[in-house]
Each structure stands twice: as C-alpha cells, then as structure tokens.
C-alpha cells in the first residue's frame, strides 16, 4: 500500500510547492509587470500620437466596444489612438495601435503583438514599413498594391502587410467616423 501512497504524496507535494513558489513569484512581480507593460504601451502611444501633455491611457473612452485613447494639449483634443487587430495574418492575429491627429490623418502606427514568421513576416514591425502609413487620410486607399491599395508588400510575404493594412484602414475609418466632425472630413 505504501508504494501507492508515496506516489500520491510525492506528486501532490511537488505540485503544491511549485504552486506556492509560483504564487509568491506572481504576487511579487505582478505590479512590476503591469508597470512595465504600461510603460511599454505609453511608449507606443507617444510614438503613434501627435504631441500631447495629458495621460492618454487615463483619458480613454469606450465607444462601441473599442477603447479610444485621447491625446490633448491644454485640454484641446490633438489626436486619438485605438488598438485594432486583424485575423488575416500568416501566423494568426496581429494587434496594431493606430494613431490619428485632429485633422483625421494617420499620425503613426505600431505593431503591438504578432506571430508572423521570424525573418519573413516580422518585417511588419519595422520602422520603414510602418512609416508608409503616416499622413494617409483615405481609409479606402490603405491596402496592399495587390488589393488595389498603395501599400507595397514584401516579396514572399503578402499576408502580413495585407493584415496590417486591413487593421489600420478599419481603425482610421472608426476614428474618423466618431471624432472628425462632418465638415473637416
């Protein structure tokens, strides 16, 4: 009998100890991780949004299920940003942070999370690719050349840039509809 008991005891004890260690480690690192991720996100925001003097992630608003971060200068809204994702990526979902200035033009794009093939699709997080989106104001035009847009895809990897373009155009369209009043559009 004691052979079986020893097995139960051993597995349970080891698991419990590991649970304890993990719980402690998680608690100890929880704030630090949240802090680091927030800093990361803020860095992404500042890169994407035009200059601002408020805390965009605090002035966030929920519109139709999407959180939109608002950038302000002395109280006057100077830009908006939102996270959009596209499932059309080669490796799966691609999460993109898109920034728009007060006139409804793209002020910056950053790729937050993607699982594209390293060395191939992951060029989408490169500065030169994302720079292409800056200044565009027509959501319809934002697509890869193959699909009639103006964004040029990389050789050997069309799915990743197409997914990013799709996410950016949807984000721009969403923000323009909600924030840019009729006459400026």
């Amino acid at each position: 009998m004691n052979k079986q008991l020893k097995i139960i005891l051993a597995v349970t004890a080891v698991s419990a100890i590991c649970g304890l260690i993990l719980g402690a480690a998680y608690n100890q690192t929880r704030e630090a991780i949240a802090e680091a991720e927030r800093a990361d996100f803020l860095a992404g925001l500042s890169e994407v949004l035009p200059p601002y003097d408020n805390d965009p992630d605090k002035d966030a608003r929920e519109i139709k299920g999407t959180t939109v971060y608002e950038a302000k200068i002395k109280g006057k809204p100077s830009g908006y940003a939102a996270v959009f994702s596209s499932g059309k990526g080669y490796g799966g979902h691609i999460y993109v942070l898109v920034g728009m200035d007060a006139e409804g033009k793209v002020s910056g794009v950053a790729v937050l999370k993607h699982k594209e093939t390293p060395g191939l699709g992951d060029k989408i997080s490169g500065k030169d690719f994302l720079g292409v989106f800056k200044g565009l104001s027509e959501p319809g035009l934002i697509a890869v050349k193959k699909d009639g847009g103006i964004i040029d895809q990389f050789s050997g990897a069309t799915m990743s840039p197409r997914a990013v373009a799709d996410a950016v155009s949807r984000a721009l369209e969403f923000m323009r509809d909600n924030f840019i009043s009729e006459e400026k559009r």
Binding site: V11, C18, G19, L22, Y26
Partner: protein
C-alpha cells in the same frame, strides 16, 4: 460544419504540427525507423493528445480563467500531460509489452513532446470552443500520425540505398524530412 472541416484539414495538412510548426520532432526522428513503432507511437500520441486537450480545456475554462491564474497555465497543462503519459506507459506495459519495449525511451519523451503541450496551449490561446478544440486536436493528431508513418516509410527505403558515410542515418533523415516538409508546404493556401 464546413468551418470544422476546414479546421481539421488546416490542422492536419496545412500547418502540420511536425512539418511546419516544428512541434514533436524528437519522437518523430527517434521512432520513425520502422513503421510498426511509428504506428504504435502515433496511436499513443493521438490518444494522449485527445485526452490532454479535453482535460486542459476544461481546467482552463473551469479554473484558470475564472480565478485569473493565467500564469499557472503551463505548469498545470504539463502536469496533466505528464500524468497521462505515465498512465499510458503503465497501460502499455501491461497490455502490449512488445510495443512498449520497442517504443522504449520515446514513451516518456512523449511528455516533453512539444506537439501535445503545443496543441493544448493553441487550443486555449485561440479561444476554441469545445467542439473546435476536439476537431483541432483530432486534426493535429491525424497530421502527426500521417507525417510519422509517411516518414517511417521513407526511412525504411533510405536504409537500403547507399548513403555516403557521413550522411548515414540522422543527416539523411533530416534532409528527407526537409523534402517532405516542402511537399506539405504545397498545402498552404488550401485553407485561409
């Protein structure tokens, strides 16, 4: 229904767990010397993969998500898989001793078989429903079995051909696997 079929074909052929996701290569290379062990191994892997996917899916949605213990995911999944493999090893030792002997070291290695943990994690991370999870695991197990049996057939043929000294056994096996992977790449684009 067609969505599920696409999911199955996608898991089995398009992103085959071994040839394009690179999961489960160690047993794939180790056991594919003869096709009976290959069949035995893919049956064992399929069995463990199915049960572990179901159990891990239930644990994820019943325990880990409500109590937001996301960080425990890897440890709990691995524990479940390891216990299952140990179970399969004992059952096999009792019921089919010769197959157990021929699988040898590779039976415990199923535990670290990246394919099984990989499938469990993918099921959870891509938020598959219960049915989708079952179909995905079945597809992946079928893909693993297909690749393994095909490859063991190839390797049996290779052992008869005269291979230069330095390429014998492992290197030529990898190069053949590369060509097989190339063939499987033909499936990409079949499912989008």
């Amino acid at each position: 229904m067609s969505g599920l079929m696409l999911l199955f074909v996608g898991a089995a052929l398009v992103n085959n767990v071994v040839l394009s996701r690179f999961l489960g290569i160690c047993p794939f290379m180790g056991v594919s010397k003869s096709s009976e062990t290959a069949l035995g191994m893919s049956a064992a892997v399929a069995f463990v993969m199915m049960i572990s996917s179901v159990v891990t899916w239930i644990i994820e949605y019943a325990v880990l998500r409500p109590w937001e213990l996301g960080y425990l995911q890897t440890v709990v999944f691995v524990l479940v898989i390891a216990a299952l493999v140990q179970l399969v090893e004992m059952v096999m030792e009792k019921t089919t001793p010769e197959l157990h002997a021929s699988l040898g070291i590779f039976l415990p290695l199923i535990t670290t078989n990246c394919a099984i943990l990989g499938v469990a994690l993918i099921n959870v991370q891509s938020d598959y429903s219960f049915i989708e999870m079952i179909v995905f695991s079945l597809g992946t197990a079928a893909g693993f079995g297909l690749a393994l049996v095909l490859f063991s057939g190839l390797r049996e043929r290779i052992s008869f051909s005269s291979v230069p000294e330095i390429f014998r056994d492992a290197p030529i096996a990898f190069i053949t696997a590369g060509i097989l992977a190339l063939a499987f790449m033909g499936f990409s684009g079949l499912v989008r």
